[in-house]
C-alpha cells in the first residue's frame, strides 16, 4: 500500500514492502534512493540512520515507513547540497569533522534538531546530546567544534 509524505520539502509517494518495513529501507531504495541516512545497526543504537520527522531527530531504522504518511521527513540531502550546504554541513566540512564519514549523517541530523532547540549550547550539552551517536574513527573533538561553529553561524 503506497503512502504519501513530504520528503525534503517535496511531496512523494512510495510503497513499503510490508507493515514492518523501516523508513530507512524505503528512503535508501529506488525510487527515493537517498544516501544520507545509513544502515549501521538496525537497532536504534548507533544513530547513523537519523532523519528529521516533523523536525524531530529520529532513528529511521526504528520507525515503520507506514507511520510517516502525511508527515514531513528531512534527510541529509534536505539540509543542503554541495553547492549550497546548510551551515551545519559547512561547519562539519570546515572542521574536518569526520574520517570515514559513515556516522556523520547522524551527527548532523541530530545537531539540526538540537540547534533548533538550543541555540547556544555548552560543550557539555553537545556531548550529552550526541552521546547516543557512535563514531569509531574518533572524530569526536572535531564534531564538537563543528557543532559550536554551526551554532555560531546560525545565530548569525
Amino acid at each position: 500500500m503506497s503512502i504519501r509524505f513530504t520528503l525534503n520539502g517535496r511531496p512523494v509517494q512510495a510503497t513499503p514492502a510490508d507493515a514492518q518495513m523501516p523508513l530507512l529501507y524505503l528512503l535508501r531504495e529506488e525510487p527515493l534512493a537517498l544516501n544520507g541516512p545509513r544502515f549501521g545497526c538496525g537497532l536504534g543504537q548507533c544513530g547513523a540512520c537519523t532523519v528529521l520527522i516533523d523536525g524531530t531527530a529520529m532513528r529511521s531504522c526504528q520507525i515503520a515507513a507506514e507511520t510517516v504518511a502525511g508527515r514531513a521527513v528531512v534527510t541529509l540531502e534536505g539540509l543542503g547540497t554541495q553547492a549550497a550546504p546548510h551551515p551545519i554541513q559547512a561547519a562539519f566540512a570546515a572542521e574536518g569533522a569526520g574520517q570515514c564519514g559513515y556516522c556523520t549523517n547522524g551527527m548532523m541530523m541530530q545537531t539540526a534538531d538540537f540547534l533548533a532547540r538550543n541555540r547556544r549550547p555548552t560543550e557539555e550539552q553537545i556531548r550529552e546530546e550526541l552521546a547516543r551517536n557512535l563514531c569509531r574513527c574518533g572524530a569526536h573533538p572535531r564534531i564538537i567544534r563543528a557543532v559550536q561553529r554551526a551554532a555560531t553561524a546560525m545565530n548569525g
Binding site: 548507533c46 554541495q82 564519514g101 574513527c137
Partner: protein, 727 residues
C-alpha cells in the same frame, strides 16, 4: 622498462606525460606486489595530474598527503592533483594499505616521479621558449621565464596532443624543504563536503541497475554447518529465494527489506560445530597452542642471573582481550558476473589481494576478476569487508548475470568478522637501588600465519581454498623493552591458532605488547621509587626518543615524583601516566601522557586528558596527523576501558552496541597533540603509532591514582575493583 611502459600504455591510452617507477625491490614490507610495474603518475593534456596507486583512502587522509607531495614537487595547485580510487583493472599494485606504510614507502617515490615530470616539463618549456634550461622555472602549473614571468606556457599546452613516457629519474632534483608551499601545511580533505551532503563515491551508496539484495545466513556458532535448510519457511515473503553453494546459505530478494525479513525467517538446522576455549581459559589456551616458531627479539647478557641478583625484582603477566574492529557501517559488497568477467565492488584495503583470493576460490583466471575500490566505513584493519566481498562473489556467480548487493547486518559483523586475538605476555625484571634496570625477561604468545592473507568466510563455507589461512601473523613487534638494560631477553612464541580468525586490527601486537612492556617498565620504576618519566629517560640515549617523552611530559606539565600518589582520599582518585614506543623499533616515535580519574567506589575509570607527542619525521600534512592522533587516542581508550568480545560455548554473544560498547561523547577526553617535525628526515607513517601507547599510559595513570596495577585489558569496573581490593 619498455615492457612495463607498454603495459601502462595499454591501460592509459592517450596523450599525456607518464612517469612509471619500479618499486618492486622495496615497495612493501608487508605484501610485495606480484607485478613489475608499481607506480604511475600521469599529467593530462589539461595540465592536471593523477596519482595512480592501489593504496586506498578510507578516511585516513593519504590521498591528500600524497597529492600534497606531488603538487609541491610539480608546482601545481593542490586542486589540480587527484588520486583515483584503486581499481585492479587500472591501478598499479602497490600492495595492501596497511602498517602506516603508505607515506613511508610510496611518498618518496611519488615525490621522485613528480620531480622527474617537472624536470621534463622544464626542458620542454625551455625548448619551446627557445631559452636555456636554467632560464626557466615552474610556477602554478606553468613553465615561465625567470626574467619575464609573463612569458609562460601551461603544462597542458606543453604536452599538447603528444604522449611522453618517462622512466623514473632518481637524479631529478627535489625541491628544498624551505621552498615548500603546499606540503608541510594543513590541507583539508577534498572529499568531505560531498560526504557531508550525501554524495561522493561510497561503497554503501552504490546501486547497480537491476540488482538483487542478499543476506547470508551465517552459522550462529564457530564451525557450525547447515544440516537442513527449509526454503518453505520464507515462502510467504514475496520475491525471495534461497541460494546455496556448499555451506554458504543465503537469501536473495528484489527489495532489501525483504531480504532482511527472509534472513530472520529462514529455518536452518545446524550441527554442533567446533569447540573453542571458554573466555576465562583463552589466554592459557594460547600458551598451550602448538608453537610454530619462536622469535627472539633481544638476547643480551644473562637476563635470568641479572634479575636474580637485583635488589628489587618483579614478575607479572599481562593479557589483552579479543576485540572487534567494530566498524560503524557493517561490511558490504556488490558483485556481478557477466560475459565471463566478475566485477566486485569492495572497500577492502587490499584490492589486489582480494582479487587473487576470489579468483582462486572460484577457479577463475585472475584477469577475469576485477575489484573496484570504494571508500567505506572505517575498517581499521582486515575486518569483514573481504568476507562480504567473497561471499557476494559466490552469489554473483549463482545469480549471473544480475548484479547482487550483499549487506551484512550488525550481528553478521560482530559474529563473523575476524578478531583481534587474545594475547598474553609474561615478564620478569630487576632494578637496582639507584633505579637502574639490570635485567629483563619477556615471553609472549601471539598468533602466527605463513601467508599475509586471512582466509575469507566464503572460502571456508564453500570449501574452496583461496590462498588465505584462518589467521594472521606480524603480532610480535615491540615485545622487546626499548631501554638500555644490560641483560635482556624477549621471546615471542608464534602459535598455530587462536579462536575467531585472528586478524590485523589497528596496531596489531604493538598495542598489546607495548601495554605489557610499558606497564611493566612502570612497575620497575615504582619498585625503585623512581619518577616514571625520569626513569625512562635514564635508560634512553636516542635524542628523538627523549624528545617525544619530554614533549609529552612538558605538554602535560608533568609533576616529577614516584608513583603512586599517596596524598589522596575520597572516592575519586586522580593520576597521570606515560608510555613510549618507537614503532617496530625503527620508525615513528610516539609518547603519551594520560590523566585519569578513578572512582574507587564503583571502579569506573575516566580518562580526562591526553597529551600525545609524535615524531614521524618529515611532516606532510600536520592537520592530517592531528586527526589521526585524536582518532587513535579515542579509539584506543575505548578498547582499553570497554571492548571485549564475549562468547558462550562456540557462540559470540556480543552482537550489538549494547553488548560491545564503544566510548561515547561524554567520555571523550581533552586531547593535545605535539608534532615534532623533522624536515630533513625521511617521512614515516602516523596512523597507528599513538595507539600503541594508550593502554599502557592509562594503566600507569590508574596505578598512579590508586596504587592498583591493571594487567588485563580492557579495564572494566569489575577488574578495577578487584585490583583495588588487592592493593
Amino acid at each position: 622498462m619498455n615492457a612495463m611502459l607498454s603495459r601502462r600504455a595499454a591501460l592509459l591510452a592517450g596523450a599525456g606525460l607518464f612517469v612509471a617507477f619500479d618499486a618492486r625491490a622495496q615497495t612493501n614490507l608487508i605484501n610485495p606486489p606480484v607485478v613489475g610495474v608499481d607506480g604511475l603518475l600521469a599529467i593530462g593534456t589539461d595540465g592536471t595530474c593523477e596519482v595512480l596507486t592501489s593504496k586506498t583512502e578510507f578516511g585516513q587522509g593519504i590521498d591528500v598527503a600524497l597529492s600534497q607531495i606531488v603538487a609541491e614537487e610539480l608546482d601545481l595547485p593542490l586542486s589540480a592533483v587527484r588520486m583515483p580510487h584503486a581499481d585492479t583493472a587500472r591501478s598499479p599494485d602497490h600492495g595492501v594499505t596497511a602498517g602506516s606504510l603508505t607515506l613511508q614507502i610510496i611518498g618518496p617515490r611519488m615525490r621522485q616521479a613528480a620531480a622527474t615530470a617537472r624536470l621534463a616539463l622544464v626542458r620542454m618549456g625551455a625548448q619551446r621558449l627557445n631559452v636555456a634550461v636554467d632560464a626557466v622555472e615552474t610556477h602554478n602549473g606553468q613553465v615561465r621565464l625567470r626574467a619575464e614571468p609573463a612569458r609562460a606556457i601551461g603544462y597542458g599546452a606543453l604536452i599538447g596532443g603528444r604522449r611522453f613516457e618517462l622512466p623514473l629519474d632518481a637524479q631529478a632534483p627535489i625541491k628544498p624543504h624551505a621552498q615548500w608551499r603546499v606540503a608541510g601545511r594543513d590541507a583539508p580533505r577534498p572529499d568531505l563536503l560531498a560526504k557531508m551532503t550525501g554524495g561522493g563515491d561510497y561503497l554503501h551508496n552504490l546501486r547497480l541497475p537491476n540488482m538483487l539484495h542478499a543476506r547470508v545466513i551465517h552459522p550462529p556458532g564457530i564451525g557450525q554447518k547447515p544440516v537442513a535448510v527449509d526454503a518453505a519457511s520464507i515462502g510467504s515473503i514475496a520475491n525471495t529465494r534461497v541460494v546455496r553453494r556448499g555451506d554458504l546459505v543465503a537469501v536473495v530478494a528484489e527489495r532489501e527489506w525483504l531480504a532482511v525479513q527472509a534472513q530472520r525467517s529462514l529455518k536452518v538446522v545446524w550441527d554442533e560445530g567446533g569447540r573453542i576455549p571458554a573466555m576465562a581459559d583463552v589466554y592459557q589456551a594460547a600458551r598451550d597452542a602448538p608453537v610454530v616458531r619462536a622469535d627472539t627479539l633481544v638476547n643480551r647478557g644473562d637476563a635470568a642471573a641479572a634479575i636474580a641478583a637485583s635488589p628489587h625484582k618483579r614478575a607479572a603477566t599481562y593479557t589483552y582481550a579479543v576485540q572487534s574492529h567494530a566498524t560503524i557501517g557493517p561490511s558490504c559488497a556488490l558483485a556481478q558476473f557477466e560475459d565471463g568477467l566478475l566485477t566486485v565492488h569492495s572497500g577492502s584495503q587490499a584490492p589486489f589481494d582480494l582479487r587473487g583470493q576470489i579468483a582462486t576460490m572460484l577457479g577463475l583466471a585472475v584477469e577475469k576478476v576485477r575489484v573496484i575500490y570504494h571508500p567505506s566505513s572505517g575498517c581499521f584493519g582486515r575486518n569483514g569487508l573481504e568476507d562480504a566481498a567473497s561471499e557476494c562473489a559466490v552469489l554473483a556467480m549463482e545469480l549471473a548475470p544480475r548484479p547482487v548487493r550483499l549487506q551484512w547486518m550488525r550481528h553478521d559483523e560482530m559474529a563473523n568478522e575476524p578478531k583481534g586475538p587474545p594475547t598474553i605476555m609474561m615478564l620478569a625484571g630487576g632494578v637496582s637501588n639507584e633505579g637502574r634496570m639490570l635485567g629483563w625477561q619477556g615471553e609472549g604468545w601471539v598468533p602466527h600465519s605463513t601467508v599475509v592473507l586471512v582466509q575469507t568466510t566464503a572460502s571456508a563455507l564453500v570449501g574452496a581454498a583461496d590462498g588465505g589461512q584462518p589467521g594472521s601473523g606480524n603480532w610480535h613487534a615491540n615485545a622487546n623493552p626499548p631501554y638500555d638494560i644490560p641483560a635482556a631477553k624477549a621471546v615471542m612464541h608464534r602459535v598455530a591458532n587462536t579462536p575467531f580468525r585472528p586478524s590485523w586490527i589497528r596496531t596489531p601486537g604493538r598495542l598489546q605488547n607495548c601495554f605489557a612492556v610499558e606497564s611493566f617498565t612502570d612497575e620497575l620504576a615504582a619498585a625503585a621509587g623512581q619518577d616514571p618519566v625520569a626513569f625512562r629517560l635514564a635508560h634512553m640515549a636516542d635524542p628523538r626518543a627523549r624528545a617525544v617523552i619530554e614533549g609529552a611530559a612538558q605538554a602535560a606539565n608533568w609533576d616529577g615524583r614516584p608513583s603512586p600518589r599517596r596524598d589522596q582520599s575520597g572516592d575519586i582518585r586522580l593520576g597521570r601516566g606515560i608510555a613510549y614506543i618507537r614503532y617496530d623499533n625503527v620508525r615513528t616515535y610516539a609518547a603519551a601522557v594520560m590523566a585519569v580519574a578513578v572512582n574507587t567506589r564503583n571502579g569506573q575509570i575516566r580518562v580526562t586528558d591526553c597529551w600525545a607527542a609524535q615524531d614521524c619525521g618529515q611532516v606532510i600534512n600536520p592537520d592530517g596527523i592531528r586527526l589521526q592522533v585524536e582518532g587513535q587516542v579515542i579509539q584506543t581508550i575505548s578498547r582499553t576501558l570497554l571492548e571485549e568480545i564475549q562468547w558462550e560455548g562456540n557462540r559470540i554473544t556480543s552482537l550489538d552496541w549494547s553488548t560491545y560498547k564503544l566510548l561515547e561523547f561524554p567520555e571523550v577526553p581533552a586531547i593535545q597533540t605535539t608534532i615534532i617535525d623533522r624536515p630533513d628526515q625521511p617521512m614515516w607513517g602516523a596512523g597507528e603509532m599513538v595507539t600503541s601507547v594508550i593502554s599502557a599510559a592509562v594503566g600507569n595513570a590508574v596505578f598512579d591514582a590508586t596504587g592498583a596495577r591493571l594487567r588485563h585489558a580492557p579495564f572494566t569496573p569489575e577488574r578495577m575493583l578487584a585490583a583495588l581490593a588487592s592493593v
